[in-house]
């Protein structure tokens, strides 16, 4: 008697293709596959059940990343009591069903189908780039095809023209079997709907947009189609050039805060391609154009791999050994300490580096430098998230995992553009929106989500830049005044006194949509409709980005969102929450790792005697109890002549920070600037020591993504610099008199776990076993915490905060009548140091200024003209693009190219609580010019 094979998701080898997606039904059914009983969730296809039972059925049009399609007719089966030979991919299992997957009749049918496919396919297997990695080839073998009776003289598609327009993959239509896997991947996985089947019958062909080349189509180059293609029709150019990979290493992407897991596929030490990992907790097998394709910068000729020093920033760089560079840097810093005191030096950690690399930098600053002058690039992006969520919920992190969005009924996207900046999460979100969730967008721009194929925002509150708090106060006013507060949740979970104070405040007439309409530019009726939709949807989820934080009231806005979530009971379960979409791969991690000048690892204040004593004991050094300086304070202090030395890990503050003239003046005033980076970036112009950094392909450690997921970063290749970044930091620390003798990155994580309650259970061993975990991970949550604040808030009761709207000082005037706001584009990343050194420049070779037609016309500017953009901080020039994505009175640009100098014009206004710069509001004027560059 056969044992029943139970369906156990945890036991499945997810690297295998089960043909159709998994089902989540609670009811289970048992079927017999070739006599073997298998129990699976109701709705599971016969194909999937058979694969679970180990009886893989031949298939071509089926793959488990997309819904069954039933077109190739190769997966036919016989079912007892049923006529015919149904396709197993589209046939759901029924209890008691008895299936045969291999019979003489099925063999004959499958062989016939394969004959037809092969009769219209080039017989060039030996020279085909997919040789050895081709499902058509595999299936021909699986069905035992030995000859094709139809010859090759008939009508065929073998003369199809190859589309080479995309820089990363080719589209060879002669090899296409029209299985539609690419079309379905584009629709179902990516949600772009750029591909279709053009023509009918024998003339049916895959078509990007309206039979355009890929590069000119709506394709976003996520590569889902390439991954889904069972033949060499859609093939990575790197595979064509280098051949099929021979080894694999699992690692984590180093672009945005989604933190996609990848399988790096290599030949020797050379990366052939990056394939998104189906088991990746953040991305579940999907990726974007940056993660999948734009990794070439790691091998770019601009990489600096040898340490360099120079006496002054006017002198030429001298290549030196690691030992000489470390000695030079240590001597300089020790001399500054001796002459000007320990507070004359400091460090900046990087959100691009691993947790372990960040940890050792902040430890070096606190223990070897002897100061708390350590800050991180999160200062200029999500520091208000840390402040606002800690005040209200008790910890500085988003509340949900990404998968939670699949359970949201109303999704509020505020100041974020997920399709460009967090594209893999955007695909998840769009899937839920296509299923019917309501979308509320609060943004000055008409971002893609507002209207794109099969997704549109029911509510777009197109506010004026700088009025976020006013709009959210108005939303909450409606909820409070129309009886939409979740009283039970508030009574059970929140601090009563703070709620009462907030309720009294938010119900004030001055917070009504009508009162604020003139300030925000949003019609009161629209605000009321959006508020009602959010409060009554069931599960309301808030997702936000830098359009929330990079304002003078960034922290206030974060607290306003937390208030809204608590007031509507949208915290502590699937489908809800307050979710920051973090900009860089390890923003969450760099903040977690004690990079802020007032906090140790795990967000514990340096003035806490118990915590400080614990660190002092483990680190063997007395630690300071006063906060150190933030980045802007360090820069100010440098200009005033008191701050003399700065260690900068993987951040280009001369390009990324606001008011670059001030940054340049501060860096120039210092006696020693140490830059640790991949490239000689803009900041390196002011450096005295350059320590070469490692790319993510060379790192060993962990990144923590926006959902608090700690992912392993594994070395795919040996370090091109000869050592790890953490080793370089430890060497400098030792040279300054404080040894940090770690043997491995794993050992650093062990120390982090020892010192940090929320990381207490984390180790490389655990991550290797589980794939990833979301902190808190400790005795109470040994496998991590996907959703926070389930039964109680980290701080106990949720704390409401009143959030009066305070207009920014940065307002449009007669001299500067337009409001500039900034953002990111899909193909480029931040200051472009990585993506500008890849073929992604084909999509965005320069930053452009988007301007409304009316504003352009009033200034005599046409599409493509050069303009000068002037603010009270400075001037720069770029070309304009007339756009109806922005309202009149607002202009928009990106900051991916240093030549654009976008941050020359941004001001030093900042968030009141955290000094996060107000990048999103700069009053400017533009005028047409003929010259592309300033004289």
């Amino acid at each position: 008697m056969n044992m029943v094979q139970q369906f156990d998701p945890a036991q499945l080898d997810l690297s295998q293709d089960y043909g159709t997606p998994a089902m989540n039904a609670e009811v289970e059914v048992t079927v017999h596959i070739n006599g073997m009983p298998v129990t699976v969730p109701e709705g599971t296809s016969v194909m999937r059940a058979a694969a679970i039972a180990g009886a893989n059925i031949p298939k071509l049009c089926a793959t488990d990343s997309v819904e069954a399609f039933g077109s190739c007719r190769l997966c036919l089966v016989e079912i007892e009591g049923r006529n015919g030979t149904p396709a197993s991919c589209t046939t759901p299992c029924q209890d008691g069903m008895s299936v045969k997957t291999q019979t003489p009749r099925l063999d004959k049918l499958r062989k016939g189908v394969m004959e037809l496919y092969i009769s219209d396919h080039p017989l060039d297997c030996l020279t085909c780039p997919a040789n050895g990695d081709c499902e058509l080839q595999d299936m021909a073998g699986a069905v035992g095809l030995r000859d094709v009776r139809y010859g090759t003289d008939g009508e065929n598609h073998l003369d199809g023209v190859k589309d080479e327009s995309n820089p990363y993959f080719t589209f060879d239509t002669s090899k296409c079997i029209v299985c539609s896997r690419c079309v379905r991947a584009c629709s179902e996985v990516q949600g772009t709907f750029a591909l279709t089947i053009a023509g009918r019958g024998f003339g049916s062909r895959v078509s990007p947009s309206e039979q355009q080349p890929f590069l000119e189509s709506e394709c976003v180059s996520c590569g889902a189609c390439v991954q889904a293609c069972p033949t060499a029709t859609l093939q990575e150019k790197s595979v064509i050039e280098l051949g099929v990979p021979s080894r694999k290493v699992k690692t984590t992407c180093a672009y945005c805060g989604v933190g996609c897991s990848f399988v790096a596929e290599l030949r020797g030490d050379e990366v052939v391609r990056m394939v998104p990992d189906k088991q990746g907790g953040a991305n579940a097998g999907h990726s974007c154009v940056k993660g999948r394709f734009a990794w070439g910068y790691a091998q770019h000729q601009d990489r600096i791999t040898t340490p360099m020093v120079r006496e002054s920033i006017d002198a030429a760089w001298q290549e030196v050994s690691w030992e000489e560079a470390i000695r030079f840097a240590a001597d300089r810093f020790n001399a500054i300490k001796a002459s000007h005191g320990v507070d004359a030096i400091g460090g900046i950690t990087s959100s691009r580096c691993t947790n372990e690399e960040v940890y050792v930098v902040q430890k070096m600053v606190r223990a070897a430098f002897g100061t708390n002058n350590v800050d991180t690039c999160a200062r200029v992006c999500h520091s208000p998230t840390g402040y606002g969520l800690k005040q209200t919920f008790g910890t500085s992190a988003g509340t949900q995992d990404f998968a939670s969005v699949q359970h949201a009924d109303a999704i509020m996207v505020i100041g974020a553009n997920p399709t460009d900046a967090h594209p893999v999460f955007a695909s998840r979100m769009k899937r839920r929106l296509r299923q019917g969730a309501d979308l509320i967008v609060i943004d000055p721009r008409s971002i893609d989500l507002v209207r794109s194929p099969h997704v549109s925002a029911e509510h777009h509150l197109q506010l004026l830049p700088g009025t976020n708090v006013a709009v959210l106060n108005a939303v909450s006013h409606v909820i409070a005044s129309e009886g939409l507060i979740d009283e039970a949740f508030v009574a059970e979970r929140c601090d009563r006194a703070s709620f009462k104070a907030w309720e009294d405040f938010i119900r004030l007439p001055e917070n009504s949509p009508e009162a604020l309409e003139a300030v925000t530019g949003v019609p009161a009726m629209s605000v009321r409709a959006a508020a009602r939709a959010f409060a009554t949807a069931g599960n309301g989820a808030i997702y936000y980005g830098l359009g929330v934080t990079e304002h003078s009231q960034g922290s206030t806005m974060v607290m306003a969102m937390a208030n809204l979530a608590m007031a509507t009971g949208n915290i502590g379960r699937l489908g809800v929450g307050v979710n920051p979409l973090r900009g860089q791969n390890n923003v969450q991690g760099s903040c977690d790792m004690g990079s802020f000048p007032h906090e140790f690892v795990g967000y514990r204040h340096v003035s806490d005697d118990t915590v400080r004593e614990q660190f002092s004991q483990i680190w063997g050094v007395t630690l300071r109890e006063e906060p150190g300086m933030r980045i802007p304070n360090m820069l100010d202090s440098a200009v005033s002549g008191r701050f003399k030395g700065l260690y900068i890990q993987g951040e280009d503050i001369a390009q990324s920070d606001p008011n670059t003239q001030h940054v340049a003046a501060a860096l120039t005033a210092m006696d020693c600037v140490i830059v640790q980076d991949l490239f000689l970036n803009e900041t390196a112009q002011f450096a005295h020591v350059f320590l070469p950094g490692t790319s993510f392909l060379e790192k060993d450690g962990t990144f923590t993504n926006a959902e608090r997921r700690i992912n392993r970063v594994r070395p795919v290749m040996t370090s091109r610099t000869g050592r790890s970044e953490w080793e370089a930091t430890c060497a400098l620390s030792e040279a300054m008199g404080y040894p940090m003798p770690y043997d491995s990155a794993a050992e650093i994580m062990d120390e982090i776990a020892e010192l940090t309650p929320t990381f207490a259970g984390v180790s490389f061993d655990l991550l290797d076993r589980l794939g990833s975990v979301q902190w808190p991970c400790n005795d109470q949550a040994p496998t991590g915490t996907p959703i926070m604040h389930k039964d109680r808030f980290v701080r106990g009761e949720g704390q409401f905060m009143t959030t009066p709207y305070v207009p920014t000082d940065e307002r449009s005037t007669r001299k500067f009548p337009l409001l500039l706001t900034t953002g990111r584009i899909l193909s480029q990343y931040n200051v472009g140091a990585q993506t500008r050194r890849t073929d992604n420049v084909v999509w965005h070779s320069e930053d452009l200024l988007d301007i409304h037609e009316a504003d352009a016309e009033a200034r005599g500017v046409k599409d493509g003209d050069w303009v000068e953009i002037a603010s009270r901080a400075g001037e720069t020039r770029m070309r304009v693009r007339i756009s109806d994505d922005i309202p009149a009175g607002v202009v928009y640009t990106t900051f991916h190219h240093p030549v654009s100098g976008t941050n020359v014009i941004t001001t030093d206004n900042s968030d009141w609580a955290t000094n996060c710069p107000e990048y999103k509001v700069t009053a400017v004027q533009i005028r047409p010019v003929s010259e592309p560059a300033l004289a």
Binding site: A501, S555, P597, V639
Partner: protein
Amino acid sequence: MMEYHQEHLVRMANQIAGGVPSREDVAGQVSHHMQQFWTPEMLKELSEIAVNTPDCIDAEVHAALAAL
């Protein structure tokens, strides 16, 4: 005539006074915020500015400095 960094310090302090959530006990909130996030050197310098050029500093900030 204040230097740039001093003007920035004053602007930060005044902005904190305008930004703290509650309008009750603003000085107490400002004082707490500064103790949490400012270095002793910054507090000392602001106190000196408060003495030398008191008009540039909001009343709540003066009260916060007095409470430190």
